[in-house]
């Protein structure tokens, strides 16, 4: 699949925004149970402004992949069936309630309505993230994405981005929680690495359809594409098959692993084991996760193989596997008299 830069941008901005708000409000929420986790007003406002700006920039950026941006409000029409509609509605509502939450904190209203809007924003943020993840995971024609690992992994990435961003804020405003957030960042990084590995390993075991299945022809006959009826690429080949990306993937994917997981894990583990908490380490942990995640999302798109590519002979080769109800591939015998 061709990686749309606007969607990678939305992933990063929405991920940091929702992830950061998640931990900011979580600390505020714990005060309801008598815990001493209340954050200074300054810290909450900085966090909320960052989240608001990022979700706003994300929405603007994501609109670049729409042909008609001003019609986006019509997305509400298919809320009951389309994950894209749900994503648009939930992320818009998240931004709106986040603004109210920030205004309440600004005017020092920290009572019932403060927590009411905090909880609503928290839920809307995660519903938005879940809807975005489901756009990919529910696509049954891109088998690499069509798994619950895509959702778990996607949500975990939001937590990774959020906890590392929040770690930077705690360093300045609530230093006693730095240790906790170093641990949480380590936890989400380790989980992220595990989910990403599972996502990649699964790709070796997917039962891929063959061109014979696409054309509904006997499974013991090899089929070759001779001509696709056009001398150049068309919309379908450009959108669903990114040749340059496929060539670069073997180099970019290891780099994405190193930048997203390995280097940040090294920084976090170093701080955790030695107890030497250095702001430069925290800063670079976050920066590496952001840059790595951008590359990782690029790989995610390029790794996806849409089944329509079968008609163009651009689908990964797997030969003819034995599948329920189908014949195993046999060597075609050439008979003459």
């Amino acid at each position: 699949m061709h990686p749309p830069l606007s969607l990678i941008w939305f992933f990063l901005t929405a991920g940091i925004s929702i992830g950061l708000f998640n931990f900011t409000y979580f600390m505020e929420f714990l005060t309801l149970f008598g815990k001493d986790t209340a954050l200074p007003k300054h810290m909450v406002l900085i966090s909320n402004v960052i989240s608001l700006v990022l979700i706003g920039l994300g929405a603007i950026g994501a609109s670049f992949h729409l042909g008609h941006k001003l019609r986006a409000w019509k997305a509400i029409k298919r809320f009951h069936t389309s994950w894209l509609s749900r994503e648009a509605v939930f992320s818009g509502a998240y931004g709106f309630t986040l603004l109210i939450f920030a205004l309440l904190r600004f005017f020092d209203h920290t009572g019932f309505w403060y927590h009411f809007f905090g909880i609503i924003t928290f839920i809307l943020g995660w519903l938005s993230a879940f809807s975005t993840a489901m756009i990919y995971a529910s696509n049954r024609f891109v088998l690499e994405w069509n798994t619950s690992i895509s959702v778990l992994y996607y949500l975990n990435m939001y937590l990774m981005l959020g906890s590392s961003a929040f770690l930077a804020l705690t360093y300045f405003y609530r230093k006693e929680f730095v240790g906790t957030y170093i641990f949480l960042t380590f936890l989400f990084l380790a989980l992220g690495l595990a989910f990403r590995l599972a996502f990649n390993i699964r790709q070796f075991y997917i039962k891929r359809p063959t061109i014979n299945e696409a054309l509904n022809l006997p499974h013991n006959r090899p089929i070759r594409v001779l001509d696709t009826g056009t001398t150049t690429d068309n919309y379908c080949t450009e959108e669903f098959y990114y040749k340059k990306g496929k060539e670069l993937l073997p180099s970019i994917l290891p780099l994405a692993y190193i930048l997203t997981f390995i280097v940040p894990l090294f920084f976090v583990l170093y701080m955790w084991i030695t107890g030497r908490v250095d702001y430069n380490f925290i800063k670079f942990t976050f920066l590496f996760i952001v840059v790595g995640s951008a590359l990782e999302r690029w790989c995610f798109f390029v790794e996806g193989n849409h089944v329509q590519n079968l008609f163009y002979g651009l689908y990964p080769e797997e030969g003819y596997t034995l599948r329920k109800g189908y014949m195993e591939r046999k060597k075609t015998k050439i008979s003459y008299r």
Partner: protein, 232 residues
Amino acid sequence: MPQYALVIDLNTCVGCHACATNCKEWNTQASFGPLSDFDPYGRNPKGVWYNRIMTYEMGEFPDTQVFHLPKSCLHCQDAPCVPVCPTGASYKREQDGIVLVNYDDCIGCKLCSWACPYGCREFDEADKVMKKCTLCIDRIYDESLPPEHRKPACVLTCPAKARFFGDIEDPNSEAYRMIKERNGFVLFPDMGTNPANHYLPRTETKVHVDEHLLEAENPLFLEVVRRHYKGG
């Protein structure tokens, strides 16, 4: 519920691209607006087409068959492109089962094309909306046309008469009869989309190489025969 569809005879289709060309011509001049072309005389000519013809070779030499597969929107009975559309621009008509796009509602998010396993939707970069085969809905209901012309442009133009159009749920229609009599099949039956367009299979052709041909005087032919049959 009626379900209009195309039935394409792969045994007769010669891959002449007349259906695709006439589709482009009709749908560019008729009510559904132009199908844009980009750099048409340049190095990388591209454009929006409702119908593309692909050519495949099946089997191993010399027991091979070449067949042409015209592929346009299959107007699936469980169309996966419809529920994913965030604005309801993609819809399936109840009265005839034709899947259409309302260009005034389409936001150009391309999600419907992601949801189509057949690659039958094309994004028009000029109009910024998704376009697809309409089964020439502006022809088939046009009462100003003689009844025999109320068919999709591709059906009318096919020089080999390889295309049939009709209600595949109506036993009196030509399309229904063709599917029943000639074992019509659909593309990607496993995907659960239940496509309405059907294809009529090619009849198997056996090529027998007679002994006297092995002694043919053409040295090139002899070389081919030796290599493939005798392992020489």
